[in-house]
């Protein structure tokens, strides 16, 4: 789509022309054009590292552009700070969570916009009420305004992030992968919200790797590959397959590998595991070669369960057994009657691995290099004469970087924070694969991962399972849970409510168990 030079096309709220960005001489965006009118939902899709978040940060005033132009309502603008962008009516929800963890939801929402009394002091009751109203209006009433933000689940934090952008109505709302951590009704609330805003004439810029929802929501779709726009199209004129092909630059056959059969011995056995307030009497088994999915709504207790199985938190009762080894046979954990691993170290020694859901807080050491992050699990096992065997360590890590196609190619010595979100996720995965586990627990492993990479992750997990790895895949993505696993456990309010054969169940059935409608 070419735009006449000179004045921007009438009716466009936002117009980007030839936006370029380089980081220290390395170009990331090569001249991106993007046009949006009021009441449109412009979806931006592209593989991990394509430059979507970079583009969005430029829109938000959080990053300066290296070249190009930005027009808003027919006027040339150049927001130099988030503050400028706010004043221009651009509100942004970033890919990474940006809440102040110590503060309440209310404060996170209203920071800078507090209702005040005549004395000039903040009116707290009014503030909480306002926050509550706002959350309810946009369908996130489940989030308590007085809760401390840092203690909420990632999903709820994401809701707060979204609500924050809507404290005053924006002209342009920019959402960078808002749906990645949401599921079920929360997802529906988000879509409803976007539609309502669209109908009110707000321009929504929407980044997502979930192509089905992109096709459903967007009015136009911009496909970015390696920092260039490859196509601008419309949902009616394209398909998921085509988009994937455009993003990846190649045709992709089937998303999920064929199912395996003939599972081996039980590898992970969890019996009667409980932790008050989080989950109750959970029992399940994962066999060698089996991939077991676990679905549930936000707050259903899956992540807590995983942490507990992994020994990161104590259980009050129950037993965890890996292969024939059980957690802490000799010494019962704490004062409780549980026989579980007392520390991640123990769990890892027994062959467990856990890819946590919050990579920023529990998956990565941000300032360390990619290589050091991945090597973390094998630090103590790759030594010679007490010293780290650097060449061997390096070879093993670099090999995985190549196998998982973590980008950019020379990223081994980059601090891991500088990777794009999806590539960070791959680095976390690599760390655990390097440890050579016998049981792999994945908590939302494909969050923010593009389709092509997802497929390679599924393929990799499948390969490992064929070699006898037992996998527990926790996910809020129904399609993934059904497609990539052999068996699905459904969790509701801290209990396992169903154990279904993945091949013979339906999305509706799983969802039903998760909200207590069926069974």
């Amino acid at each position: 789509m070419t735009v006449a030079a000179g004045s921007p096309r009438a009716g466009n709220v936002l117009e980007l022309r030839g936006v370029r960005k380089e980081f220290g001489g390395v170009p990331v965006l090569h001249g991106v054009d993007l046009v949006g009118r009021p009441g449109e939902v412009v979806a931006v899709v592209g593989a991990n590292g394509a430059g979507k978040s970079t583009l969005i940060k430029i829109l938000a005033g959080a990053l300066p552009m290296s070249g190009g132009e930005m027009w808003l309502d027919g006027a040339r603008v150049e927001p130099r700070s988030p503050h400028d962008a706010h004043d221009l009516g651009i509100r942004t929800v970033y890919q990474e969570l940006t809440l102040v963890p110590e503060l309440t939801v209310t404060e996170n929402l209203l920071l800078g916009n507090f209702p005040r009394r005549r004395t000039g002091l903040i009116d707290w009751p009014a503030a909480h009420a306002k926050a509550g109203r706002l959350l309810a209006e946009i369908g996130f009433g489940a989030v308590h305004p007085r809760a401390i933000a840092g203690r909420l689940t990632v999903a709820r934090q994401q809701m707060v992030e979204i609500a924050k952008a809507l404290v005053s109505e924006p002209r342009v709302l920019v959402l960078d992968e808002p749906s990645a951590v949401l599921a079920g009704t929360d997802l529906d609330s988000l879509f409803g919200l976007i539609r309502r805003l669209r109908d009110r004439g707000v321009l929504v810029i929407y980044v997502s790797h979930r192509l089905a929802e992109v096709l459903d929501l967007a009015t136009s779709i911009v496909v970015i590959k390696d920092g260039r726009v490859v196509t601008t199209t419309e949902p009616a004129r394209t398909s998921e397959d085509e988009l994937i092909r455009l993003m990846a630059g190649r045709r992709l056959e089937r998303i999920y590998p064929a199912r395996r059969t003939g599972f081996g011995e039980p590898r992970l056995r969890v019996t009667g595991l409980s932790r008050p307030g989080e989950f109750t009497d959970v029992s399940f088994t994962v066999r060698a070669g089996e991939i077991v999915g676990m679905f549930g709504l936000v707050g259903s207790g899956r992540s807590e369960l995983a942490r507990c199985v992994f020994g990161a938190e104590p259980a009050s009762t129950g037993e965890v057994r890996v292969g024939t080894e059980s957690g802490s046979d000799t010494e019962q954990s704490g004062r409780t009657g549980a026989t579980t691993f007392r520390s991640p170290t123990q769990a890892i020694t027994a062959g467990l691995a856990l890819v946590t859901e919050d990579r920023k807080r529990t998956g990565l050491v941000p300032e360390l290099t990619v290589r050091d992050n991945i090597g973390l699990t094998t630090l103590y096992s790759t030594t010679r004469a007490g010293l780290l065997d650097v060449p061997r360590h390096r070879r093993a890590v670099d090999d995985l970087i190549a196998r998982l196609d973590i980008r950019p190619a020379h990223c081994a010595t980059m601090p891991v924070v500088r990777l794009s979100g999806g590539n960070q996720q791959k680095a976390v995965l690599a760390k655990w694969l390097l440890a050579g586990p016998r049981v792999l627990i994945l908590d939302e492993p494909t969050r923010g991962v593009d389709m092509a990479t997802r497929m390679s992750i599924y393929q990799m997990v499948d390969d490992l399972a064929r070699d006898g790895l037992a996998v527990l895949l926790i996910s809020s993505d129904l399609t993934e849970v059904l497609g990539a696993t052999d068996r699905v456990l459904v969790m509701r309010e801290g209990r396992i409510t169903a154990d279904l054969d993945a091949e013979h169940t339906t999305e509706d059935e799983v969802l039903g168990y998760s909200i207590g409608r069926a069974g």
């Binding site: 988030p82 970033y94 940006t98 809440l99 110590e102 503060l103 920071l111 002091l121 007085r146």
Partner: protein, 331 residues
């Protein structure tokens, strides 16, 4: 609830799924109750074990001896909330005091005092600008300031200055009934400061900055300006403390105030502040000051020999923050 006034945050809801580590009679011990118990317990023990403790002289002493640490601790709290630290306060105390004492002969007393406090603000602004604008580490910036300002105090006057001005003593020794005027001033600082932190946008922003500065910046708030403000407040408090201390002693010494910053920081942490920023209350800090002053007072009343006082003081501080920590839910 009067607590509202000095609470640095709106009360959080009861958090589901989090357990406090200490419980008494089944009820979780919150930071506030755990801490209050500690203070009350300390006071009770003091009253029961020392005849001298509850005498009016001693109680007045306690009130007087809180003032310097108290003022410094409040300013320190504000800086700590941003995630910074201000090691220069002790030197500012010396500088503000000696400048005030030096000027009294030429200027009207209130003006001389204002200059003393203003000098504290000026140093605070420099600290703040170096930290916020030039993004230098607060620890080292204020450590350098500690050295430089101490040097400047000596450059201003190598010898102590004892002003002739008869009113010079007044501020430091006036009593409002049984309560020293300086204690009232300190209380007012905590009251206004608590209100500032809990009920003004600037105060809330300062706390939020300590929690996550980038978020606050992305929310369109000028982070730098708030950080500079925080250091200026600390400077102002240190300046005021310096003026009051000089007036109280009647002599301004360029060497005064060495290691004062340590007690101020300890008071904040004992009062529940996190040195990582974002957490801490005026009320808690005041409690921390009280505990520190109590420790000193009791060790003196029990006639504990000085070295053992040092040994015990350290041990007691660890015990106090241990209790404090145990009554806070796990992060």
């Amino acid at each position: 609830m009067t607590g509202q006034l000095t609470d640095a945050g709106p009360e959080p809801a009861v958090e589901p799924g989090r357990r406090n580590r200490l419980t008494v009679a089944g009820r979780p011990v919150t930071v506030e109750t755990g801490f209050l118990t500690l203070v009350v317990l300390a006071l009770a023990v003091a009253a029961l074990t020392s005849d001298a403790f509850l005498t009016q002289t001693n109680l007045t002493n306690l009130l007087k001896q809180m003032v310097t640490t108290g003022l410094l601790a409040f300013g320190m709290l504000v800086v700590i909330l941003t995630g910074g630290i201000d090691l220069s306060v002790g030197s500012v105390v010396a500088f503000a005091g000696i400048v005030t004492a030096g000027l009294v002969s030429g200027l009207p007393l209130p003006l001389a005092m204002a200059v003393g406090i203003a000098s504290g603000i000026a140093f605070g602004l420099v600290n703040g600008i170096l930290v916020a604008r030039f993004e230098l580490a607060p620890f080292v910036v204020t450590l350098a300031a500690l050295t430089t300002i101490r040097g400047l105090a000596f450059v201003y006057s190598e010898v102590p200055i004892a002003p002739e001005h008869p009113d010079f003593f007044w501020l430091g020794s006036a009593m409002l009934g049984p309560i020293p005027l300086t204690t009232v001033i300190m209380a007012l600082v905590f009251l206004a400061g608590g209100l500032f932190l809990s009920r003004t946008p600037a105060g809330r922003s300062i706390i939020a900055i300590g929690g996550n500065a980038e978020t606050v910046r992305l929310a369109g708030i000028n982070v730098r300006r708030h950080v500079v403000l925080a250091y200026a407040i600390s400077g102002a408090c240190a300046g005021l403390a310096g003026v009051i201390l000089a007036s109280r002693v009647g002599i301004a010494q360029p060497s005064v105030g060495v290691a004062f910053e340590l007690d101020a920081i300890a008071a904040c942490v004992i009062g529940g502040a996190s040195l990582a920023g974002g957490r801490g209350t005026a009320r808690g800090t005041l409690g921390g000051v009280l505990i520190l002053v109590l420790i000193n007072n009791l060790l003196n009343l029990y006639d504990v020999q000085s070295f053992w006082q040092q040994v015990l003081k350290g041990v007691v501080i660890v015990v106090v923050i241990g209790v404090q920590r145990a009554s806070r839910p796990r992060a």
